[in-house]
């Protein structure tokens, strides 16, 4: 805990551990999310026949689209607990910096979505008989960077959506267009590694640039969005 505090600052660490604890306790969201993730994989395997050669070529794309949809369902829950009982007001009234809250929520979502991916990925590998013909270890930074790309913007846009009607649909509406370069990078990088045809290095670099740009932008603008009433 104190290592976490050292890395993130006390408030972000406290918020993150509180969220993880609450999620673990209720297990509502986790259970339904995990099942949803499983369903996505199964439906994909019916829609895109795993035996066909083409399907293995597009597996990179399928995996990430699956992750994206599962992530959106998770992201929509980001602020649900804070909106109940107006807990967000308690946060706004306190001297705690807005960025700490954002960082904690983004990291919480990141962990959560990674857990989902850890479940879905083996299933995809199973159904599609995937093998990495390129450097397989690269899949890890791709997954981490790509997930952060979705989650950092997703957490920010979830906060934007709080101030709108039709909250649940607003999040993907805002998230998808902006995520297109990241999505392209994730899919291409994964395909490159699986097929071994090209080097995924440029895509990984692009993902890093994307992550840096939007993490900074989110941290910069979150305070404005949080206090917008």
């Amino acid at each position: 805990m104190s290592l976490l505090s050292g890395l993130l600052g006390n408030i972000a660490a406290a918020t993150l551990s509180k969220d993880v604890r609450l999620e673990w306790r209720s297990k509502d969201a986790i259970n339904s999310m995990l099942f949803f993730a499983l369903l996505v994989v199964v439906i994909f395997s019916f829609s895109f026949d795993p035996n066909a050669e083409e399907s293995r070529r597009i597996a990179g794309g399928l995996i990430w689209v699956g992750f994206l949809f599962a992530a959106v369902v998770a992201l929509n829950q980001t602020w649900a607990r804070e909106l109940r009982n107006q807990v967000l007001d308690a946060y706004r009234v306190s001297p705690a910096p807005a960025n700490s809250l954002f960082l904690a929520k983004a990291l919480g979502n990141f962990i959560f979505v990674c857990v989902l991916e850890a479940l879905m990925a083996p299933l995809f590998i199973l159904f599609y008989n995937l093998r990495a013909l390129g450097p397989g270890w690269q899949l890890i930074p791709i997954a981490l960077l790509g997930t952060w790309a979705i989650v950092v913007n997703g957490t920010f846009f979830a906060a934007l959506s709080i101030r709108t009607r039709s909250r649940e649909i607003m999040l993907p509406l805002l998230l998808f267009p902006i995520s297109i370069p990241a999505l392209l990078a994730m899919v291409e990088a994964t395909t490159d590694v699986l097929s071994g045809e090209y080097s995924a290095r440029f895509w990984i670099a692009l993902l890093m640039a994307y992550d840096v740009v939007f993490t900074i932008a989110s941290l910069f603008l979150f305070e404005t969005v949080l206090h917008a009433e």
Binding site: T164, M170, L173, L221, V225
Partner: protein, 287 residues
């Protein structure tokens, strides 16, 4: 001001007519593509106009957020100047890939500074948000024109409606998607803080644009794709017609934006007056 608008509208109409004539009849016919190529004058002019409008939206969004207090305003002014100057210097110092003129980069840097301060001068901190809405809406319209004329041109000439790896067309599509989501956000948000959150989204969108461009550019190096539109050199006579069309389209855009901006300002004035009224009158007591 009121008399200026009809005069300007008349000039615009005249320009558009002349540009139309030049595009359809005056300009030379393209060798390989034939008359279909003439759509290029609309496609490219709309694209440039849309990009400039979206850029103005970006500037207006930033100004809405920073001009609220003096210190952030001053800091931003200096940052803008610094960025423009760095761009100009970099244009002459850094080795550029071929096909890109040093002078065009430098002039882009200068025009960015000029545009920022022009917007600052012409629009008060309160009205800057009305400018943002206006340019977003009109920009989306022009962007739609680009996305429609693109496939219409591509199909007869290259046999395909769309090429995902076409950098310009796909980047334009993503930009269109971002700004449609911007307009939806504005429509769906609870009015009090719409300008702030919309401004945040516009900034995110603007940051995304270079990333979009690079990602698609790299995509096509791995997946060879046909290029929609002229690859390289353009006949000087065609260039004249293109610039003429662009001028006409820009005037048209200014005209529409002007009208839309006035409409937005009037709407806000009405709202404010009604709000002031409710402020002053004694409401019936609520039992």
């Amino acid at each position: 001001m009121k008399r200026l608008f009809p005069i300007f509208a008349f000039i615009t109409a005249a320009l558009l007519s002349f540009a139309l004539y030049e595009a359809l009849i005056g300009a030379p016919t393209e060798q390989t593509m034939g008359d279909v190529q003439r759509i290029f004058y609309y496609h490219v002019s709309s694209a440039w106009t849309a990009f400039i409008l979206f850029f103005i939206n970006f500037v207006a969004s930033i100004q809405y957020l920073v001009r609220k207090n003096d210190s952030s305003d001053r800091i931003t002014n200096w940052i803008v100047i610094a960025l423009g100057v760095i761009t100009c210097i970099a244009a002459y110092v850094v080795h550029l890939p071929q096909g890109i003129e040093k002078s065009s980069i430098a002039s882009t840097g200068i025009s960015v500074i000029a545009l920022y301060f022009l917007v600052r001068k012409l629009f008060s901190p309160d009205n800057v948000d009305a400018l943002a809405v206006t340019t977003a809406e009109v920009g989306v319209v022009f962007c739609t024109v680009v996305l429609i004329t693109g496939p219409l041109w591509a199909r007869p000439v290259w046999g395909i409606w769309w090429a995902v790896g076409d950098v310009r067309l796909t980047s334009t599509l993503v930009l269109w998607l971002i700004y449609v989501s911007y307009l939806l956000l504005r429509k769906f948000s609870n009015s009090g803080q719409t300008p702030k959150i919309a401004a945040a989204l516009a900034i995110f969108g603007a940051l995304d644009v270079p990333l979009v461009y690079f990602s698609i550019w790299f995509f096509r190096t791995q997946h060879p794709q046909p290029v929609i539109g002229d690859g390289g050199e353009i006949d000087p006579r065609m260039l004249h017609v293109l610039l003429l069309n662009w001028l006409a389209f820009s005037c048209f855009a200014v005209m529409i934006c002007w009208a839309r901006y006035r409409l937005e300002i009037l709407k806000r004035e009405v709202e404010e007056t009604l709000a002031l009224e409710s402020l002053l009158e004694e409401p019936r007591s609520i039992r």
